[in-house]
Subunit: 507 residues, 2 copies
């Protein structure tokens, strides 16, 4: 059908065309169907949106962004014809019907996801089918390989490449900021790509961005890693395993995190950077992603087996995930805590022990040490890790090299204990909620500092948490939550809950 | 957060607000999240869309359509705060995790679907979870009742209300245009609501629209049914079981038709109009929705049991669905064939036998006959059915009372046989494809007439199908398909496929 192009003054994610209701009926298409739009010899396939008032009859509305792809401008004539859904949609249907996908089918599917040829409802159907009906390890292996093959890759000229990954779910987990400099200082290469927060208070990319630029290209990641031994870059700025980003985008609105996609996502990122040895941190505990040890072990087995199939040496560590790692939550607070720990060579034991433990495993896997923990500790306490951290910050264009230069929110509120006792429980989800209400991750200085963790003794009037914010109204919102929903449970040391019983012992 | 309202000059289906990337970060929301927009004392909950270029920082873009709901206009100040997903989203997650939903959960869910509070990705997740993980009959019963309770209902002052439904999938199925006048002529009430085509060549509402107005309100359906005994109205123009429309909208892009939703959808429409006796036509055969008799029987059992739980007397008929009913496919062609059959009191045996059979079942169910088929036939051959049809057309504001006044497309092409033999197979899906390419259902006059059906003898040069179109280019597209993909398979009466064997028998 002959139509006239209207340039839409806004940008939509994928190829999209707005049609009038009359014209879409004329073409026999509904919203979500595809049409091919041809101008001269150039053409694009776009998804139809029928939005009354956006275009007139006879017009096809295309975002300015895509007009250049077909060398067209407002008012040009275009030929518009319906085209079927991509063939890979049939593979999604096969999965929905409970079938096992072949290698070729998975490659077609991941290719179409990576190129944006499948829309969100279709990708969501695939992801939720994977969640409900599972995928076997063959399918997961093919999916991982397809994710790697549909993206950019980094090949290093020299050195042994190692990597670490934490599957997330525990707040305050800034261990990457300690592990990367330790490993880089040991002579191994660690081109760490990290994510930004979606539902958490900060992602490692958000945290390191407080100190340096994390929007690195694949070439920059390669160059800096080869020069200083390591980087901490935002994975989303690269084209490493890009299908993964599309999958994550539909997982968020459904609040699901299917195991096949989790496994493939982690391993594809590692495979893309050519890692040989990978350590995977699986936090286990209430309020983290993995509620109990059995599920953690099964996941660990899957990671190791998938690594074997991909030629990656994988080691998994189940870690304590029931409360935050370290004491700071939020981008600047976490960057400050990590840098301070490197400077002082001491600090929160949960942060230091976990970082040295995982770094040590990597040193042993790569054959650099027979006692990895001790060697990692030596690099940490010698100050070499701090020196390496400064090199990495400088290489990534940063200008903050000292924890005292890291600015945190100047609007603060400290919640104090009204009774004495000991901390019985710390609630990860509440802490994240408070930190996000305070402005994290958008406001870098916002977050929560936790003064008392599980097992610690509390006196009346002791500070329990301090909320940091950049804006007064966000601080108020965060305080409201903190007062309604305690982040920490304190059990009294006297049995004050039973007023009819008098406890006669001393304090 | 304080923002300024921008009026968006187009209409989107649900409450939608466009935010800039900066502001959505500030609010901590992503596309698909909800915010509450308050102007003075009025407020709406809207779904966030982050579409660069649509609004400036500080602006919230709302469709004109919804501004009146909060008495707001362009430039007004509004308070925007994030709100959580509806509680019913947790019920969708429960289903995804394989749980059984309670009555209360299903009511909340259907209520939120009916009111548009859940978005397409969320409804799609529910529908595909129902497809993959099934629902039991309790859940289906509650879903049906919730669909009825969240919509309008019709209560008739007099008479016995009966209804029919065909689950679809077979082209040319214009039996409603014969059954409704026969039943109405018998003195029973039949307030038939029908659907429009989504993927087929025509829906009953599209077909009857050729003769009369089908966009009737609930009050009009009641008034006309009480006056003349029956109507054929488009269900989508009413608010009868509106949740169903939202569910159908997500089934289309996923090409799935889960049994729980199919059962609930049919029975909710019947329950909403207060039908006491319902006959359900289940076409069985290749190319229809139900490929074999066993699946058809199971579905029939489910319908009958669901009817029992709802207090509806249900009878199912498995019918032959392997080839079209009658010979015409497409809105005007089918309306013409139905009217002509009523006028001549003869015609395609598949059409007449099926219509009389189903009408007869209804007469027996309602206690009006001990030999329903014969009584239905008497009404048909006496001309009473034709008279009633004219009354119904007139009551629905129609002006076409004779089949010769029904106009069909004047661009035609007849495909002729190049060999002689007999029709071995007729392909439903190809016929629909050709009819849609020719312009159906949008171009009322477009469609296909099939001259030779299964078992019929064909001579060289005999017409096989005639394609009708209103536009030359659409006719060309339809011809292309018809030539590439035969709609009819003709088996030669001599063994011409084996050239090395000479068959010596006569013709």
């Amino acid at each position: 059908m002959r139509m006239k192009i209207k340039a839409l003054p806004f940008e939509v994610r994928r190829h999209f065309v707005a049609l009038s209701e009359r014209d879409s009926k004329e073409l026999g298409v509904l919203s979500g169907d595809r049409v091919k739009i041809s101008v001269g010899k150039k053409s694009i396939v776009a998804e139809v949106g029928i939005i009354p008032g956006m275009v007139k009859d006879g017009e096809c509305g295309i975002s300015n962004l895509f007009l250049s792809e077909i060398d067209a401008k407002e008012g040009d004539g275009a030929e518009v014809v319906p085209v079927p859904k991509p063939k890979s949609f049939q593979h999604i249907r096969k999965k929905i019907l409970g079938g096992k996908l072949s290698k070729e089918e998975i490659y077609e599917l991941i290719n179409d996801i990576a190129s944006g040829s499948l829309n969100e409802v279709e990708v969501a159907a695939f992801v939720s089918a994977s969640y409900m009906l599972k995928m076997d390890l063959d399918e997961i292996e093919w999916m991982t390989k397809a994710m790697i093959d549909t993206g950019e890759r980094i090949t290093f000229e020299r050195g042994t490449v190692v990597d670490k990954h934490s599957i997330g779910g525990v707040p305050g987990n800034k261990i990457t900021l300690l592990i990367v400099p330790i490993i880089a200082a040991s002579g191994l290469l660690i081109p760490k790509t990290a994510s930004r927060a979606i539902t958490s208070a900060t992602g490692t990319a958000d945290t390191f961005e407080v100190l340096a630029n994390v929007n690195l290209s694949v070439d920059e990641i390669k160059e800096i890693t080869e020069r200083v031994g390591g980087v901490i870059a935002w994975g989303g700025a690269t084209q490493l395993a890009p299908a993964d980003d599309h999958i994550i985008r539909v997982e968020y609105p459904l609040s699901i995190d299917p195991k096949p996609q989790l496994l493939a996502s982690v391993m594809a990122k590692k495979g893309s950077v050519g890692a040989k040895h990978v350590v995977i941190d699986i936090p286990v505990g209430e309020g983290s992603k993995v509620p109990d040890v059995d599920i953690g072990r099964e996941l660990a087995n899957n990671f190791v087996e998938l690594g074997r199939r991909l030629g990656l040496n994988v080691f998994c560590a189940l870690s304590s995930g029931g409360q935050p790692v370290g004491r700071a939550i939020g981008p600047a607070l976490e960057a400050k805590e990590a840098l301070k720990t490197l400077e002082e060579r001491k600090g929160s034991s949960s942060l230091i022990e976990k970082s040295l433990g995982l770094a040590g495993i990597l040193l042993e896997m790569a054959g650099r040490s027979s006692n990895g923990y001790e060697d990692a500790k030596r690099i940490f306490t010698s100050g070499k890790a701090l020196e390496k951290m400064k090199e990495i910050i400088e290489a990534q264009g940063g200008e903050i090299f000292s924890s005292k230069d890291v600015l945190v929110g100047d609007k603060t509120y400290t919640l104090k204990s009204k009774k004495e006792g000991a901390v019985e429980a710390v609630f990860n989800k509440t802490l994240v909620k408070i930190a996000r209400a305070a402005g994290a991750p958008k406001d870098k200085g916002a977050g929560v500092y936790i003064h008392k963790k599980r097992g610690e003794v509390v006196k009346e009037g002791d500070a329990i948490i301090t909320i940091y914010a950049e804006k007064e109204w966000k601080l108020d919102n965060a305080i409201d939550i903190a007062l309604q929903e305690p982040a920490v449970e304190i059990t009294g040391m006297i049995l004050e809950k039973f007023p009819s019983v008098r406890y006669l012992g001393g304090e």
